[in-house]
């Protein structure tokens, strides 16, 4: 059992390298990544694994805060500690935006320090890790590459704009403009943080001005081409945010012979394109518009690619894609599930709260709707990116909606017909109703209300103050100065304390705009969330939930119930665009959960680590779980079975 246990407990040579708290959550992801990148190539190729014969990397796809950094550190640390001597080369390149590079930068209280401190390894090993990470070199200019000190072991931290220019074209044969610009055959591991940003634009160009576009992918290829034995880890919480072409490029990076996988994907995608064309040629089919719209989202491409409506049931078999590769039960689908590595977090139950409109309100919605979209096609029209925004604002508040280049006179005309904005009023009313129905628990009296639009925050604040009193309503928005945000949260905590002391059922409301989606902890005073506005991206909803789904709300986690009594509500106006947003988010979530949240093996592993179970019992569990495991997971299972025999 040594192999499995070592990996799963994070022990190497009986020295634990993962912090205890991280082990449970992260062991599977780490195990999988390690297996694919380090362990597998050194062992005899099992048949089911031939599909991975050219694999040189994986994508770590945990949610933000899910442990990608720690997983990466664990993998690097384990690989480093396996090196018997400091003369054995082990060079790691971390590519990260300057803005997110902080977490990789060696300084007091940084993630790496925490990781090393919490890791249960010998003092010598800790010193080795400390030396390795602390002596990191930061490269911020292209020219610096020519003068780097070529130590055998070390970490180099850089960003895309600071990697030398590459020649146009070339794909996976990409080369630097001048070969001597970048050290040849130098790096053994390449880590790309926020890899989804490899898509066009959106990159911090503070260091060296350069457009990213496809250039970033070519740059990575060029770096990899300097050493074809190098391994790569792509870190992204949202691998499905990219379009088909971009995902193809990302997956191509993971393959030593990317043509193999890109042809696999291309074949699948061609089939998809054909299917979409067939459907779009028949305009009477109601699903066509949807498909066309969904086509833009990679998750739906993949969704369709692997079998359209019944995800998981009609997946193409590998044989149908290529007969040259070893059988892989569920084809490309399994491949994706294996190379997109993620640990699984218990899914929260979210309660949808429908807002039903009266006849008057329905009329008003349709009239407002008139001011936004004249043509059916507009939803898919790239020239009209504001379309979705306008519609999202329409179901949020009149304040946010009417600011958006809407014909003001017509808007007033509609308002006057029914004297008020009844559509949004219905949502307000439902919100207040929902707040009143929620029961506080565990001395956490704060309900966090997430709102997408700043103007809606103000509108909502006024409404809520009139019902729940000014002292119980707090807001945290982009308008709150950064230095004041801490104060706001302290005020909320103090108010919560006061309410607890008075033992009453007072509700405290914290209205939070987009600014509060990331980086803030509300778990100390709240375990109740209401999503007032919806979002197409499940990651946004998860991020928001993550504000309470953390810390004190998880430590007391009981396996059989929802994580420590967290309650999440999602408001939506029935029949309107609000419902559409919610449905699309659900679709994406299904996708994400399928590729990134394969519970089956995790469940086995949970049982293995449950001390109450004896080995016979574990074996029985294993016998029942033999289907629907990807090759990679089957491999782990087979090994375990063999070892406990």
């Amino acid at each position: 059992m040594a192999y499995i246990k070592d990996l799963l407990t994070g022990k190497t040579d009986n020295k634990q390298i993962l912090p205890e708290t991280a082990i449970k959550a992260q062991r599977l992801a780490t195990c999988m990544a390690w297996q694919i990148l380090h362990d597998y190539p050194t062992r005899k190729t099992p048949k089911a694994w031939q599909i991975y014969s050219n694999l040189r990397g994986v994508m770590l796809a945990d949610e933000v805060g899910g442990g990608k950094t720690f997983e990466t550190l664990a993998i690097i640390s384990k690989a480093l500690l396996e090196k018997k001597s400091t003369r054995e080369r082990f060079r790691v390149l971390i590519i990260a935006n300057p803005s997110i590079r902080l977490k990789w930068k060696w300084e007091d209280k940084c993630d790496i320090v925490t990781f090393i401190n919490q890791t249960n390894v010998t003092k010598t090993a800790k010193e080795k890790l400390t030396y390795f990470f602390s002596s990191q070199k930061i490269i911020t200019k292209k020219a610096e590459w020519k003068e780097i000190y070529k130590s055998n072991q070390g970490v180099w931290l850089s960003s895309f704009p600071s990697i030398p220019s590459v020649k146009d074209g070339g794909g996976d044969n990409a080369k630097f403009v001048t070969a001597t610009d970048f050290p040849k055959n130098f790096f053994d591991w390449i880590i790309v943080d926020e890899a989804h940003a490899l898509k066009a634009g959106s990159i911090d160009t503070a260091e060296e001005t350069s457009k990213l576009d496809g250039v970033a992918v070519r740059k990575i290829n060029a770096v990899l081409n300097t050493n074809d034995k190098a391994k790569i880890l792509l870190l992204t919480a949202t691998p499905f945010q990219n379009n088909t072409e971009e995902l193809k490029q990302l997956l191509g990076l993971l393959e030593r012979n990317p043509k193999h996988i890109t042809s696999l994907i291309a074949k699948g995608l061609n089939a998809l394109d054909k299917q979409i064309k067939e459907l779009t040629d028949n305009p009477k089919d109601i699903t066509v518009e949807n498909l066309k719209g969904l086509r833009k989202n990679i998750d739906h491409d993949i969704h369709t690619l692997i079998g359209d409506e019944n995800l998981g049931e009609q997946r193409p078999k590998m044989e149908s894609i290529s007969n040259k590769v070893a059988p892989c039960k569920n084809g490309l689908d399994d491949y994706l599930r294996d190379v997109l590595v993620r640990n699984t977090k218990e899914l929260l139950t979210i309660t949808p709260v429908p807002v039903t409109l009266t006849e008057q309100e329905q009329l008003q919605y349709l009239l407002y709707r008139e001011l936004i979209g004249k043509k059916e096609q507009e939803e898919d029209d790239p020239k009209n990116p504001m379309f979705n925004t306008k519609l999202s604002q329409l179901v949020s508040s009149n304040e946010s909606y009417s600011k958006n280049n809407i014909n003001e006179n017509k808007n007033k005309t509609i308002n006057n017909l029914l004297d008020k904005n009844t559509v949004v009023d219905a949502k307000y009313t439902k919100l207040i109703e929902t707040i009143n129905e929620i029961k506080n628990s565990k001395q956490k009296n704060v309900i966090v209300v997430f709102v997408s639009w700043l103007d809606s925050v103000t509108a909502l604040e006024n409404k809520l103050i009139s019902v729940f009193n000014k002292s119980n309503v707090f807001t945290l928005t982009g308008n709150t100065p950064t230095e004041d945000r801490k104060t706001v949260l302290e005020n909320v905590a103090n108010r919560n304390k006061k309410v607890n002391e008075s033992h009453d059922e007072t509700k405290i409301l914290l209205i939070v705009s987009r600014v509060g989606n990331e980086g803030l902890d509300f778990d100390k005073f709240s375990n109740r969330v209401i999503h007032y506005d919806n979002n197409f991206n499940p990651a946004v909803i998860d991020q928001r939930n993550g504000r309470v789904y953390r810390g004190s709300n998880i430590t007391s986690k009981n396996k059989n119930t929802q994580a420590d009594d967290i309650e999440i509500y999602q408001l939506f106006i029935q029949g309107t665009y609000d419902q559409r947003i919610l449905l699309i988010e659900q679709e994406k979530r299904k996708m994400k959960n399928f590729y990134l949240g394969d519970h089956s093996l995790q469940q086995v592993l949970e049982k293995i680590f449950d001390n109450d179970k004896d080995e016979q019992e574990i074996l029985n569990v294993l016998k029942t779980i033999t289907i629907d495991l990807t090759p990679s997971k089957n491999y782990i299972l087979a090994k375990y079975k063999k070892e406990i025999k």
Binding site: E359, L366, L367, L418, F594
Partner: protein, 563 residues
Amino acid sequence: MMKPRPHDFFESITKFENPTLSVFLTYTLSEDVINKLTEVCGAPKLILHDYKQGVTLSDNDGSTLVCLPIKTLKPNDTNCFHSKLALLKNNEGAKFIVGSANLSRDSFITEKEIAFELTLSFDNANDVYVYNQIVAYLEQLQPQLIGDKTIFKTTLEQLIYNNLKVTESTSQFVHNTTDASIYDALNNYLAKHKKGEKASAIKIATPFVSKEYGEQLAKIMEITGSSNVSMYLRNGVQIDEFKNAGFKIWQPINPKSKRNGFHAKLVLIEYGTNESVLYIGSANFTKQGFFNTLNEGANQECGVIVSVPKDELNTWFNTNYWNELSPPELKDYEVTQEDTEQLNTTTYYAWAEKTEQEITTTYVYNPEPLLITKTKNGEEIKGKTDGEIFSTTELKEDSSGKVNFYIDDKKVEVCVSVPTDYTKALNEKSESIFEGFKGINSVNTKELDGAINTRGINMGTTAVKITNYPKLEQYFKNVKLLTENIARKKYFSEYEEKRIETEINSNNDGCTLYLTLQLLKILKQKTNTTNSVKACEKRIDELAKHLGIGKQQLTTFTKRWLI
């Protein structure tokens, strides 16, 4: 402007682009011609024929080909429904062909026929005048139909346009009535358009003649002010009265027809150097065709009276075809022909229709009468007999939509006409504005809401995929599509006006008020929509009241919204 064109009838039909429906009136018909029509005309075809002259259709092209028998308004033993007309309509206008030809084999193979063709645009008020005359004639035929009238009614609804601009035209579609003959129509036309003018010559072509004309021949000279009359007749017909009146007699030199002649019917009145007046139609220059009213036992006839350039028909009266009888020829003339058209009226045929109540009625024209049985030599089928027409609801159609039975031990296979199929084809062809309109219930809200509600957000990987937009979003799109259809459409038939009214009255809710407002907005921007605009305005008031919207608020709103 108008020209009698020498080309083929079928070619003329083919040349009319995107026909949405077609109506044919004929005395006789044969299967060959119907098959040919199906080839050249893509629109649904409704054929009205004299009830004694039908054929049994064993294939009706998915109910897009419907033959309905019709009795003349005042039937007696000798008269018939004799009108011959083809009316094709599309979204921009119509074409009609009126003349002497029946939809029978003879008309297209052996007879010399003449027809007048006119293309009408809904944009032209003169054309609309003629179009409306034709449609009014068709409308008036409705009570004379035998059997279910649903298909004819639907056709009329799609033919009637209530809001087009009309100005009286010099071209007239004419037909005889209970108290006016084709002659009367011609007389009225001349009195109005050629008042005080004397004709220089009159040319009359008729394949059949009356036994006795009496004073009628003098009448023709009286209304035209000319005694220079030439008769163009079949060989061997009775000519004494014409001779006595001093008319010239012309006959074919080399008659090809098995019936020794031609079949065209026309009256051409020439005025010196001016335009001539021409009647072309179904009426023979006989008492039963031309001079009598329906009350006097005439055939039911129609035609056109138009002004044509003087030389327009020169080719037709070409001397290579016609020979004027010389005095010796007149002296030795021998009558060899019967005086009137005598056609077989004893052949049985059958047709079948499905009523709105889904009841299949089979009709048999059974003049002899013969025994009608379910199986060969089998049990007699029970039914009603009304003169020569037998009808029964005993027969059920088979899987291919046909009823089978036996007449006098001979198997008969009849294809049943289904009004809903016919209407559907009409709507598809005419790109009806409501074609494809899905209304408020086009979304399965249960499925959508269910996707959200049943398992919360943690749906499994095989749960419902997004197939629909939420209800209001989809309705918004449905209405958008409908208003776009309306925007594209120039003219609105009575059928569409009725559909609009039905739709805005189907529900009493906010969505319907929205629909009605949108319809009003688009219809107001168009001409020819007065009726629908009124219906929408009325409905908006009702719905607003229902939703508790104040009158003042509504007025202010609609005023601004409709800009």
